[in-house]
């Protein structure tokens, strides 16, 4: 059976961490499964973890009053979802829903924060990785704001 430590070694987000850091992070993780349409987290609820999606697709959604729930983004296998566990008040800002069967590894936020405080090198390594994810998502969001598929030139 593959251990969480082995799983993390194969995922780009974690694979370049030092082996002792992978071991520390793996100690805060547990494997979870969600059925289709099952909610992983809901806006406003306590954000006490983040996920590595290992199989399936998670839809990041927002409830807009007067409209139906809107999908903001989809997160695929190999990607990380969730950073609200990092910052007070530790509350989810969006809903996360499984678009089909999802296998993921859930990491306990308090456990990770505790280990990062005890080992600043781990904290720095993890923060730079989360910053990279944040930067990419911000870039993609900015690109969507441009509405690049607009009408273009009139001819």
């Amino acid at each position: 059976m593959t251990t969480i430590e082995q799983l993390l070694s194969d995922v780009p987000f974690f694979s370049t961490l030092a082996p002792e850091h992978i071991e520390l992070v793996a100690g805060c993780g547990s494997n979870v499964h969600f059925d289709e349409d099952e909610v992983l987290f809901r806006e406003g609820e306590q954000a006490d973890n983040f996920y590595l999606v290992r199989h399936g697709v998670v839809s990041v959604e927002m409830f807009v009053p007067g409209r139906t729930t809107t999908t903001i983004e989809t997160i695929e296998a190999g990607e990380i979802i969730g950073w609200s566990w990092l910052f007070p008040p530790y509350r989810w800002h969006f809903d996360g829903r499984a678009l089909g069967p999802v296998r993921a590894t859930s990491f306990d936020g308090a456990c990770i924060r505790g280990k990062c405080e005890a080992d600043p090198a781990l904290g720095y390594a993890l923060m730079t990785r989360f910053a990279q994810v944040l930067m990419e998502r911000l870039q993609w969001t900015r690109l969507r704001l441009l509405d690049v598929y607009g009408d273009g030139s009139r001819r």
Binding site: S59, T71, W140, L146, D147, V148, Y149, G150, R154
Partner: protein
Amino acid sequence: MTPRPFHVVRRRRDTHDTWTLELEPHEGPPLDVGPGQFTMLYAFGVGEVPISVSRTEGPLLVHTVRAVGAVTEAICAAKPGTVLGVRGPYGNTWPVEEARGRDAVIVAGGIGLAPLRPALLHVLEHRRDYGAAALLYGSRTPRDLLYRSELERLSARPDLEVRVTVDAADDEWRGNVGVVPKLVGEARFDPANAVAMICGPEIMMRYSAEALIARGVPASSVYVSMERNMTCGLGYCGHCQLGPTLICRDGPVYRWDVIEPLMAVRQL
């Protein structure tokens, strides 16, 4: 410079603003068109625009046109029997021969799928000559997706990876939501042995090329199709000049490492 008369044989609505027209020459041989080439399509009395060929089939010349102005609106409104003028084909082709023996990655955004369709069909018609094949396609919303039934058929093929995304989902959409360049990181191909062909809005092509290069695809194996104000199609008028190159004559398909420095010049 004299357009040949073609008549509309069939017209199909693809999206709320995009139509596919099948054209047949009044007389004479069909056009010999390479994947990625375009024609100058003339709506008599209205004007002429460059439109990429989205398919050829026997004598038929197929164009997918988005109605964004007076000329394209007139072309999209052309019912069967209507006569349109055709000049060309013009321009160079996608590097389908260079890609032979390698993985073919086709990255399309919006109406950019139309110029890439002949390259995709070429790869599929000669499937054994290529390694992995991937189509990564994105549009603004699900209702803007081109060739939806064809995409569904292609998705069922075991020898082609099809990934589709939209910038903004509607209630029925169960697929990816996000930008096309993000799909590059998820597709299965060997970056060192891949040839990528990209067509879409310029900024989407830039981000997609950067994502491909970040994955390890050499810049010299990434190709984009450029669009500028092509008027004559023959390199005479200079309207489509981009620095030292005329897109109608030297392009529209360019290697990324050749065209990227010019795309970065804001005055061009």
